[in-house]
């Protein structure tokens, strides 16, 4: 009986973290998702079959996001990618109960004020997409190839600091992964440790 109880407790504990245990893995199919953008339009990953897709986790309240937007690095990466026909989805998984939650219009105007250039800015306040991808930090970056496989997961660049002065000397992993994947090469750095603030998932999750 005791053993049974221990096993049950363990199973429950595992189930509690199952959302992250099953997170997306590089080299495998990127989890499908659909979410609503800041203009109320539904956007699904399946809409972009046959194209490269970049996912960017964001939260304007996070200094690391501000580091890359304030210095124009994120926007430059977005423009560079979209010029090559790449779809760019910026996703905000901040829960509505977090202090720095931004409602869709507020997020849209923040993105506009930053002159951000994603294909769409998606709301994921319930954290479903974020958990499917195992997104931990803002920013946290993912690259999906035209066959729907995840080819890069991790940091925006190689210098894990909050100081924008470090951006010019850092390797931009997203640019690198796209350059390689677009020319048919395997992605040389396919997984890195993302750095930044925690994604503000609902504490009940």
């Amino acid at each position: 009986m005791k053993r049974f109880l221990v096993t049950t407790a363990l199973a429950l504990a595992l189930a509690a973290t199952a959302s992250f245990a099953a997170a997306a893995t590089v080299g495998q199919l990127a989890p499908a998702f659909a979410a609503t953008d800041v203009n109320g339009k539904s956007v699904s990953l399946a809409d972009f079959k046959g194209k490269h897709v970049v996912l960017e986790w964001t939260n304007p309240g996070c200094p690391f996001v501000v580091k890359h937007y304030g210095a124009g690095n994120m926007q430059a990466t977005q423009q560079d990618a979209r010029a090559k026909g790449v779809v760019w989805l910026t996703i905000n998984s901040t829960s509505t109960d977090a202090g720095d939650y931004k409602a869709p219009p507020a997020l849209a105007s923040w993105m506009a004020s930053q002159k951000a250039a994603p294909s769409a800015t998606l709301m994921d306040a319930d954290g479903k997409v974020g958990k499917a991808y195992g997104a931990r930090t803002t920013p946290h970056m993912y690259v999906i190839n035209p066959a729907g496989l995840l080819v890069y997961a991790g940091a925006i660049d190689s210098k894990a600091t909050s100081n924008p002065a470090d951006i010019p000397g850092a390797t931009n992993y997203v640019k690198q992964a796209l350059a390689e994947s677009l020319t048919g090469k395997p992605v040389s750095t396919s997984t890195t440790r993302a750095y930044g603030c925690s994604v503000k998932y609902s504490s009940g999750a």
Partner: protein, 719 residues
């Protein structure tokens, strides 16, 4: 003297956090060793009880006092955050060592886990004093950066200066330094930590921990970031003085070190135990997509491993294969009896006037029924996949309930063919009249039924085209399934368009009644197979429950539909049948819902369950790998398993070449297997994959497996 560097970006960060974090505090112009922000008070401190003397201990440190609930991070911050960094500017000759990180705490945030410190923290650093050092005072300068978080995070930095007399004692913070030193992680004599990578987890064994720790709950802190899931529940357990825990690997693992420094703690101990944990098994390679996406079909592309046997198909070729695969479905034992009887019916009908037009209309209605049902099934599958489900073709049979319903359907068809009951007796006369009145609807429903009965049969050509279908844009994917349906309907459509074909069949006669009865047996054979599939899914209890339901169903069909029973007998037997049916369903329902806990590899023990780690491990050992992606409900898989994979020459080659045999069982839903199939460009089973030693990638063999092909592939011969 003292200055807190508040740079513009930091200021912007504070402003951007929408008022949740207060704006950054500016430094107060007092003593040089202290920086105060709304979140922390940080101070550069020193401990040199014997002065700055060569050979005597000299410690520096950054003392951080956090406001309640604010924290800074350990050297491995966990899922987010950054460790505090210290940059020293020291007089010539003096050098500072690395931070001696105190034992951290676990700091959960939502589903994430961080490692760090709250309260009062000292990050101590040893100062190395050379033998010839000689100066009256020492001026120290420190630039420190730290990330302080509660719910929001604020990157802060400060510049600190401190002047120490060389010849006098500095011991103002002796108590803090002593306390920190006693709380630092330390090595334990004769203790050892080792780890193995197995089944997607790091299995850690620690022997020789202090006796006082025995039986207590142990916390585990890896110094290497990005290896294990930090937030995984602690399942550590004690067994004979050895502590073991299983830590799931991070799905996005970025490191695979041969040794991992780790810190263990337990409640009631101030100091953690430090280990340089050896990882004794090879790491699976950090995932990387090997092949480039090959552009095809306009903007769509599929990725398949770079092997000649698995070149991506063009849309036209895929449509053609789908058409042929569909036509072949008609010969499957589950479909043939139903359709052959329908076609035989044409022979008699064709002699009636006006028959041609009616027959053709019926044939077209049947075709529409088949195509629409296939497209509907595919649409459901694609919708579920878009919703994030990891499914592939054949998903219908991964549910025990669907398998049970199909078994019941086949039993009823078989009993009907065998003459146990007549539909006309069971169904209300209005229904029969409706059927006669709406022959087109009847033909349409026959088409729907044909797809339902065909769904367990996977035709040899379907694997490749359905695999392609899943990677295509929705419209093209549905087109493939429509072609499959069209292929299946073609023979029937042809027979209805040219009744001459039907007339070429033997003339109707008493043989047709015999033929009908004989056709009942392939139906019952299909039921046997479905019961076996259900047994794989729900165990022997589930299979027995299904058989009980089938017996009750057969009795019910006989009681209500037997042409030999009178109305009185029918009433009595019918009531008994209803009771029997209800009782068997009541008993069976939970057994059908309950899935078997573990699937036991049924054939020999040289087959091991498949996992990506097992493949990587075998390849790292230089052994060839053969993977059988299979499912109990897949006929082709079972055929290959009992022929080619049981072939003596193949088995001898497996043995002599030390091939690692892995079986990926897709009988029940399994996201890892679905994802691997997708990676191989497939969405259904069977799939046979060989990794020859030294080969760059996997080689996918054909679905109808021949012994020669397997032997050539494991010998590493070019395809």
């Amino acid at each position: 003297m003292k200055r807190l560097s508040v740079t513009p970006w930091l200021f912007a960060a504070a402003l951007a956090s929408a008022g949740t974090a207060q704006a950054q505090a500016f430094a107060k112009p007092d003593a040089g060793a202290v920086v105060t922000t709304p979140q922390v008070r940080a101070e550069l401190v020193a401990h040199a009880p014997d002065g700055i003397t060569p050979g005597k201990p000299v410690w520096l440190g950054l003392k951080i006092e956090h406001q309640p609930h604010w924290h800074t991070y350990w050297k491995n911050p966990g899922d987010s955050g950054l460790p505090t960094t210290l940059k020293w500017t020291l007089p010539a000759g003096l050098t500072a060592g690395d931070v001696v990180w105190p034992t951290p705490s676990r700091l959960p945030i939502g589903p994430l886990m961080n490692y760090g410190y709250e309260g009062t923290l000292l990050l101590p650093v040893a100062l190395n004093v050379p033998a010839d050092f000689d100066a009256p005072t020492v001026r120290l300068k420190l630039e420190a950066e730290w990330l302080v978080c509660k719910e929001v995070c604020i990157p802060e930095s400060g510049e600190f200066t401190l002047e120490l007399p060389t010849g006098a004692s500095t011991a103002m913070h002796a108590a803090l330094f002593d306390k920190t030193r006693s709380a630092a992680p330390r090595t334990v004599d004769k203790a050892e930590a080792t780890a193995e990578v197995r089944d997607g987890a790091l299995i850690v064994k620690v022997a020789g921990l202090p006796a006082a720790w025995s039986g207590k709950k142990i916390e585990f802190f890896p110094e290497t970031a990005g290896v294990v899931q930090n937030a995984a529940p602690n399942n550590g357990r004690w067994s004979g003085g050895v502590w073991t825990t299983t830590l799931p690997l991070d799905a996005q693992r970025s490191a695979g070190p041969a040794t991992m420094p780790v810190v263990l703690t337990t409640a009631g101990e101030t100091a953690g135990a430090w280990f340089d944990m050896k990882v004794t098994t090879p790491w699976p390679p950090v995932a990387q997509v090997a092949a480039a996406p090959l552009p095809s079909l306009g903007n769509a592309a599929v990725t398949t491993p770079a092997s000649p046997g698995a070149a991506p198909l063009g849309l036209a070729a895929a449509l053609l294969l789908a058409l042929m695969g569909g036509a072949l479905l008609n010969l499957m034992p589950c479909v043939f009896p139903v359709l052959s009887l329908k076609v035989l019916g044409f022979a008699s009908a064709a002699s009636r006037p006006d028959a041609r037009r009616k027959l053709l209309a019926g044939g077209l209605a049947y075709t529409v029924g088949v195509v629409l049902t296939f497209v509907a099934l595919a649409a459901v599958l694609l919708a579920l996949r878009a919703g994030g489900e990891q499914l592939g073709w054949g998903f219908q049979l991964q549910s025990p309930v669907v398998v049970a319903v199909l078994a019941a359907l086949f039993t009823l068809i078989g009993l009907n063919l065998a003459g146990v009951f007549e539909l006309g007796t069971v169904l209300p006369s209005t229904w029969a009249a409706a059927r006669a009145k709406h022959p087109l609807a009847d033909s349409f429903l026959t088409g729907v039924l044909a797809v339902a009965v065909a769904s367990p049969c996977t035709a040899p050509f379907m694997g490749a085209s359905l695999g392609l279908a899943m990677t295509l844009p929705t419209a093209q994917a549905l087109l493939i399934f429509a072609a499959l349906g069209l292929g299946m309907a073609l023979p029937y459509l042809a027979a209805s368009a040219w009744p001459a074909l039907a007339r070429a069949l033997p003339r109707p006669g008493v043989w047709m009644a015999h033929f009908k009865t004989v056709m009942a047996f392939p139906m019952f054979a299909t039921v046997v197979w479905l019961v076996w599939v259900l047994g794989q899914q729900a165990g022997i209890d589930g299979a027995a429950a299904l058989l009980a339901v089938l017996v009750a169903l057969a009795f019910t069909a006989w009681a209500l539909g037997s042409p030999t029973l009178g109305p009185k007998a029918r009433g009595g037997f019918g009531a008994a049948a209803a009771l029997l049916m209800a009782a068997s369903l009541f008993w069976a329902a939970p057994a059908l819902r309950q899935e078997a806990t573990a699937s036991v590899p049924s054939q020999g023990d040289q087959w091991q369950p498949w996992s990506p780690e097992r493949v990587a491990q075998a390849r790292a050992e230089g052994r060839p790998v053969f993977i059988d992606f299979t499912a109990a409900w897949c006929v082709t898989c079972q055929f290959n398993k009992r022929t080619t994979l049981a072939d003596a020459a193949v088995l001898a080659d497996f043995e002599s070449k030390r091939v690692v045999l892995l079986r990926a069982d897709w009988t029940r839903r399994d996201a890892a297997i679905s994802a691997e199939l997708a990676r191989l460009g497939r969405s259904g089973v069977p799939v046979y994959v060989v990794y020859a030693p030294g080969a760059a990638g996997p080689r996918v063999l054909s679905e109808i497996l021949s012994p020669d092909e397997v032997r050539a592939a494991i010998a590493g011969a070019p395809a």
